[in-house]
């Protein structure tokens, strides 16, 4: 009889507590993506996520790249996977990091040759303190022993991905879980110049074998150009349409040549 009373009491307390508990209601979605990248390879990666619970803020490099299961680690930087982050578009200045088993992504001191012949030592900011923005890209250089896929993690943003493309070279990452057909997304703001490809915006893609492919934004000037593709689109240097899909999680170079800038927001 006593046991029955206790069980009834426990049930009543549980029901009361359940009734009092407010459900957690929010829109935060944790993202976790696989980047299938073979060993002994160099490629551009995208930054697809934002910092968790930080109102679409920048994510720290160490938080973005999961080190779990990565075999390409070593105390010797030359024998480990590398992250190469562009921190200055104008001077093409990079921070180098290597994967250490104990410390995770660890900065590598590098020497930059100056015009006067002197050298300046560049010491990277710690990966845990280096913010990387969604829409930016960075390099992954994998050693031959790296056979496991790499994972990127963070919070899926509720807003459409966008990034500012300024005059000169931009390292761009399209943060999406799907491949991007170059002529299938919104390129409002891209510049096609006067029809000559050397005056128009240019995209440079690093292929799997390390070679570079080039694509140009072409806007047909009209009269006299009837034999060329109509409207605006990305073309190769022989003016045939670009038929490339940039894989999810992969980035590319964007060379802006008209002196202005625009906000690249492919999902508009």
């Amino acid at each position: 009889m006593k046991n029955i009373f206790m069980i009834a009491l426990a049930c009543a307390v549980t029901v009361c507590l359940y009734a009092e508990m407010a459900s957690v209601d929010g829109s935060n979605i944790v993202g976790f993506s696989t980047v299938d990248d073979n060993g002994n390879d160099t490629s551009i990666l995208a930054v697809p996520y934002v910092s968790c619970l930080n109102n679409d803020g920048d994510i720290m490099l160490a938080d973005l790249i999961s080190t779990n299961g990565l075999a390409g680690h070593s105390t010797d930087p030359t024998q480990a996977d590398q992250l190469i982050v562009l921190i200055d578009d104008n001077g093409l200045k990079y921070y180098y990091y290597y994967l250490d088993l104990e410390d995770g992504w660890t900065g590598i001191e590098t020497a930059m040759k100056q015009p006067d012949g002197s050298e300046v030592v560049v010491t990277p900011t710690a990966a845990a303190s280096l913010p990387v923005s969604r829409g930016e890209g960075f390099w992954l250089k994998r050693v031959e022993t790296s056979s496991n896929p790499l994972y990127v993690q963070g919070e899926v943003s509720a807003s459409n991905p966008s990034t500012s493309i300024v005059d000169g070279l931009n390292l761009v990452g399209y943060g999406s879980g799907e491949a991007m057909g170059l002529n299938s997304v919104d390129w409002t703001g891209a510049d096609g110049g006067n029809g000559l490809l050397q005056n128009s915006d240019k995209i440079i893609v690093v292929e799997a074998d390390g070679s570079l492919s080039y694509y140009y934004y072409f806007t047909n000037p009209g009269t006299g150009w009837e034999a060329y593709p109509a409207g605006s689109s990305w073309v190769k240097d022989d003016y045939t349409q670009a038929d490339i899909n940039i894989p999810a999680g992969q980035g590319f170079w964007y060379l802006r040549r008209d002196g202005g800038s625009f906000n690249f927001q492919p999902d508009n």
């Binding site: 160099t42 030359t78 029809g195 000559l196 570079l212 003016y239 060379l255």
Partner: protein, 163 residues
């Protein structure tokens, strides 16, 4: 020790990159009228290329473009792969339908990293786009060259008999 390893890594990284073939980015914005095709020509000693009958007697052709790449405004930007050179220069040579050729007044040095690169971490931001050309020169015809050679031979033979 750590610094040594770092420098070694940088050296290995850039050595691997520089071992690849280079890509030359070239174009013609100021195109002489009548141009129907263009060639990128490499000259090892940097002197002006010379076209003789049906090939270059000075210089070697690296790439040739025609068709849609020759637009109503000029030659659109081309990306031509070449082996890594240790000297010399690149010229652009234009051709027209009147059997004439026209050499660019300026050249691109073999090591000009603004328009020549294969470094994937810092791709080229410039283009070799010469503003002026030296003027149209007739391409020697095979028949004319043969007649000239025959005439010179007969003249030499006649002088020998007289002597």
């Amino acid at each position: 020790m750590k610094n040594t390893l770092c420098f070694a890594f940088i050296f290995v990284f850039f050595a691997a990159v520089s071992a690849k073939a280079v890509v030359i980015h070239w174009a013609v914005s100021s195109m002489p009228s009548g141009t129907t095709s263009a060639q990128l020509v490499y000259v090892s000693d940097g002197t002006t290329p010379v076209y003789d009958t049906d090939q270059f007697s000075t210089g070697s052709s690296i790439d040739s473009v025609s068709g849609l790449a020759v637009t109503p405004l000029g030659i659109s930007e081309q990306n031509t792969e070449d082996i890594t050179r240790s000297s010399g220069s690149y010229y652009i040579v234009l051709f027209n339908d009147s059997d004439q050729y026209n050499v660019s007044s300026t050249s691109l040095a073999y090591d000009d990293s603004s328009a020549i690169t294969s470094d994937e971490t810092s791709p080229a931001t410039g283009t070799f786009d010469p503003e002026t050309f030296d003027g149209w020169i007739p391409v020697p015809e095979p028949g004319s060259a043969a007649i000239l050679a025959l005439g010179a031979g007969l003249l030499a033979l006649r002088r020998k008999r007289r002597g």
